[in-house]
Amino acid sequence: MSGRATAIEATTLEARNLVKDFRLRSGTKVRTLHAVKDVSFTLEPGRTIALVGESGSGKSTIARMMAKLETPSSGEVLLDGRVSATRGGGLARYRRDVQMVFQDPFSSLNPFHPILHHLERPLRIHNPRLSSRQIRERAEELLERVRLSPAATFADRRPHELSGGQRQRVAIARALAPGSRFIIADEPVSMLDVSIRLGVLNLLAELQRQEHLGVLYITHDLATARHFSDEILVMYRGEIVERGPSEQVILDPRHEYTKTLLEAAADPDRLGRLRDDVRNGG
């Protein structure tokens, strides 16, 4: 992979004091929703940060700001220490390094285009000098890397002919296509059937190691956050209320909200405890 040469440099993707306010209008009243309030963190190559929280906590808004799909109200996103452009060639260069995997693989692929198109397009945009044959080769190579193999049998199919898990693999391949160094994965497996979720997460983890990617993993699932990431940031109402090494946050939470979340997560080891609790008047 020629794109890999740049990946070895010490680089970072940094969120610095990110704030996002949305103006909500109902009738003549306008009110402001503070979706994200002063959030900072730094993503490094080869490391995964999990952003956990309930719906409405602001985690997806952060993902969208990191992917430059949303402009922060204040604060900035820094790639390698520099503020990058929000439009034009600067934005294209940013997108070569930072890509996103969306939650819903049923709506993130274009039903009119074959699988190959979804990979060839980013390859062509980011490598304008490659010949069509080279692009096709690279696209097939990407399919093999996400275990859609043999690539030739998947290349010409359309999204509806693939299962949810296969589609999400295509989405991951597409995110890798420009030679990205950072991947923002917004609930990448929550729409998939349970028995294939781990397979997709394992694939993402494996690619992350091979490519030395920095990954921002957004999820509401504390168990996969623990196993899949190095660091966990817990979000509540737009703020990070707790952050630390994954094991520590899960096994020894400090903040009340983290404790509430952990208490609410299903844990088969507590078999029968809720029943006994309720019986004893809890």
Partner: protein, 295 residues
């Protein structure tokens, strides 16, 4: 599965309240889809039976079959469902018809539907929808009685009775779900079938509702068929669990047995799909060492 194990749990759990034997359900489309194939389950009085499986395995179709809610093209092609009423009578659910079926439904077995967030009527307030249950099934009830019972039901599920005047869009997802549960409780059923009752809710809200269900069960003594793909949750709350795959129940047993000593490879696979929150890593291959190295 295991006759001995079943006998033991039956003794511990009391009498059966709902028994399905060799139930088969087909969707009469071209080609026909055998959605449920020879499923047998026994629900005991007051127990929570977890029904686990992935999307498309037939768990919702089975639930609809138990409650005679199947609509064409779904057709029950075989098997029997018997409801063992508290009065001592056995009711052949498959044979019910017309008025008898109407009297059975909701009175004996009620249901909390999947996506309940959307099963409330958006243009009727909560009062009207709760009263509806009584005007339909308890025609002799006076308006004041209906009102009192509706308020009582809301209180029971932890919703302020002033919410009777609210419309569904004025309620949060969790509250709507609680209203649905109140509605299912209205006629004091002996069995409640809950199809993914909390899947769309945030974990903290979900936990509150699960706790409410457990509490109500202790108090009112109904049995629950709890359907979900969330096996860790089922293990935590169920007395027994049945695992479904491709329309068949491939394994059933005590929650503890399913968790600690799963017999079927698919059960083991399903279990290993959920990395443990506080314990070992299971099937999860990512290791700290590999992540740190520049592979």
């Amino acid at each position: 599965m295991n006759a001995d194990a079943n006998a033991v749990s039956t003794a511990a759990l009391g009498e059966p309240v709902l028994t399905a034997r060799n139930l088969s359900i087909e969707y009469e489309v071209d080609p026909p889809v055998k959605a449920v194939r020879g499923a047998s389950i026994t629900l005991h009085r007051g127990e929570i039976l977890g029904l686990a499986g992935e999307s498309g395995c037939g768990k919702t179709t089975l639930a609809y079959g138990l409650n005679r809610l199947l609509k064409a093209p779904a057709l029950m092609t075989g098997g029997e469902v018997v409801f063992h009423d508290a009065s001592g009578d056995d009711i052949d659910v498959v044979g019910l018809d017309g008025e008898a079926l109407r009297r059975f439904r909701w009175n004996k077995v009620s249901m909390v539907f999947q996506g309940s967030m959307n099963s409330l009527n958006p243009v009727m307030n909560v009062r009207k929808q709760l009263h509806d249950v009584f005007t339909t099934h308890r025609p002799g009830m006076k308006r004041a009685e209906r009102e009192a019972r509706s308020a009582e039901l809301l209180t029971l599920v932890g919703v302020d009775p002033t919410r009777l005047s609210s419309f569904p869009h004025e309620l949060s997802g969790g509250m709507r779900q609680r209203v649905m549960i109140a509605m299912a409780l209205a006629l004091d059923p002996q069995v409640m079938i809950m199809d993914e009752p909390t899947t769309a809710l945030d974990v903290v809200v979900q936990r509150g509702i699960i706790r409410e269900i457990m509490r109500l069960r202790e108090r009112l003594g109904f049995a629950v068929v709890f359907i979900t793909h969330d096996l860790p949750l089922l293990i935590e709350i169920s007395d027994r669990i049945a695992i479904m795959l491709d329309g068949e129940i491939i394994e059933q047993g005590d929650a503890e047995q399913i968790y600690r000593a799963p017999g079927h490879p698919y059960t083991r696979r399903l279990l290993s799909s959920f990395p443990s929150l506080r314990g070992d890593r299971g099937d999860f291959i990512r290791t700290g060492a590999a992540a740190g190295g520049a592979a």
